[in-house]
């Protein structure tokens, strides 16, 4: 071993030098307090290149958004970083949103990139309290992409738009050279009318509120993971992709709603962390109350994943007045997409910014944001 050169990782030494001014570790409580201070600091990007983790919806995504995009575009409408922006036009309020879709494979059990792109934007509008109305659709196509596949995608978009009562009213197409894209990417933007006199958002959340999940979680993410074929797994499972506007409207009619968000990338855990952080409260979740189908649990156990972090495309999290929790669930269960709705947790005053899970085993643990995608693990 003597012929080997020894050096120390420079980046690690830099990080350590930065931490050097901290007093030596002492009592656990003090250490935890120090960590919370560190967590509240503005995120810094340490990578020199974009990695897949930056697109996963977790901590790395948040860092990228805050350090690059918010930094460049800072304005009061953008600032809440909600699923859509609420625009007051004087004559009425509009919600405006956009989303890009890059799913692989393009077709999977229960859906394809087309209905995903429509439902996703419809849902972003719906959870902001708006009635979805008009969509745009932009396509980035790879040279050589089969026209039959494109027709299949657009047909499913048309169906999804009809189901959601929206119209695709403008669009764009670009074709890139073979190898420069993965078949077909779709970007949709949408506008909806905010007709109800409601104010939704993290700022409305208060201790005592109830946390509701609209149905069984993780089905889309596991379906797509299996459909990719790398894992050689078979399961009788379909994506949960669906428009949520009807269920959301029913909920808004039934009970006082504080906020809603659809649980896409990063899953329910990510939404709950956004709620805790944004509202400066704690979210306590009861593991036994979480709706998870056995087959999703089974796939997660096999792959070492946690269903709380697996993406959904037709589920949302709602925070409602705690006194109306049961009425909220009853209202949701009248709709097919809300059949599996359940009260899963409560808003508590503190510790602020934390999501705590009461486990089925009778213990407690933290549910933090993931750094990147949940990765299958063997350890």
């Amino acid at each position: 071993m003597s012929d080997r050169t020894v050096h120390t990782a420079e980046w690690a030494e830099r990080a350590l030098a930065e931490a050097a001014h901290h007093e030596p570790a002492s009592r656990e409580e003090q250490v935890l307090e120090r960590i919370e201070r560190a967590r509240r600091r503005r995120p810094k990007i340490t990578e020199e290149r974009v990695t897949l983790a930056h697109g996963a919806g977790g901590k790395a995504s948040r860092t990228l958004i805050e350090a690059v995009f918010v930094e460049a575009f800072r304005n009061p409408v953008l600032q809440p970083l909600d699923d859509g922006a609420t625009l007051d036009l004087g004559t009425g309020r509009l919600v405006f949103t956009t989303d890009a879709y890059v799913v692989s494979p393009l077709f999977f059990p229960g859906g394809d990139i087309g209905d995903l792109a429509v439902n996703g934007t419809v849902n972003d509008l719906a959870v902001c309290g708006a009635r979805p109305m008009y969509l745009s659709a932009a396509f980035v196509l790879e040279e050589g992409f089969p026209l039959a596949d494109l027709r299949r995608i657009t047909a499913s978009m048309a169906d999804a738009a009809e189901r959601a009562g929206v119209k695709v009213v403008t669009g764009d197409t670009k074709v890139v050279q073979r190898g420069k894209a993965d078949g077909c990417y779709v970007t949709t933007a949408g506008v909806g009318a905010l007709e109800r006199p409601v104010t939704l958002g993290e700022s409305q959340v208060r201790p005592g509120d109830a946390v509701i999940v609209s149905g069984p979680i993780g089905e889309h993410g596991i379906t797509v993971l299996i459909a990719r074929g790398d894992l050689d797994i078979e399961a009788d499972l379909t994506s949960d992709t669906a428009p949520l506007h009807d269920a959301v409207a029913a909920l808004l009619d039934a009970v006082p709603v504080r906020m809603m968000r659809d649980a896409t990338r990063g899953g329910v855990a990510t939404v709950l962390n956004e709620v805790a952080r944004g509202a400066g409260v704690a979210v306590t979740v009861d593991e036994r109350a979480l709706p998870v189908r056995p087959i999703v649990s089974g796939a997660c156990e096999l792959l070492g994943l946690d269903p709380l972090y697996v993406a959904c495309e037709g589920r949302f999290v709602a925070v409602v007045d705690g006194d109306h929790a049961e009425a909220a669930v009853t209202a949701l269960r009248r709709h097919p997409v809300g059949e599996g709705a359940a009260v899963v947790g409560r808003i508590e005053p503190g510790p602020p910014g934390m999501v705590l899970l009461n486990t089925a085993f009778g213990g407690t643990r933290i549910v933090d944001l993931l750094v990147g995608d949940p990765l299958p693990r063997i350890c």
Binding site: D232, E234, A235, I295, G298, A299, L302, R377, I378, C379
Partner: protein, 90 residues
Amino acid sequence: MCLGIPGEIVELIPGQPELAKVEVAGVRRAINVGLVNQDGIRPGDWVLVHVGFAMSKIDEREAAATLELLRGLGQAYTDELEALAESDIT
């Protein structure tokens, strides 16, 4: 250090004695049973699955014995609680 999940053998794969289809809560995958098939693997058997290999055949009698022991320990406690409650010295 090693994720291992109990799965039920649902199908032997003809012509491939090292492979069998295993099911975990409705999720199916072909796994390699070359490390355990000397024990005679049959559909209905349960195995511990790790990185696509069956590592061990699960012994159902031992599983039942462990549970019985656990419940026995718990039962003794429940009995004591009841005895305590009855004797009214808390």
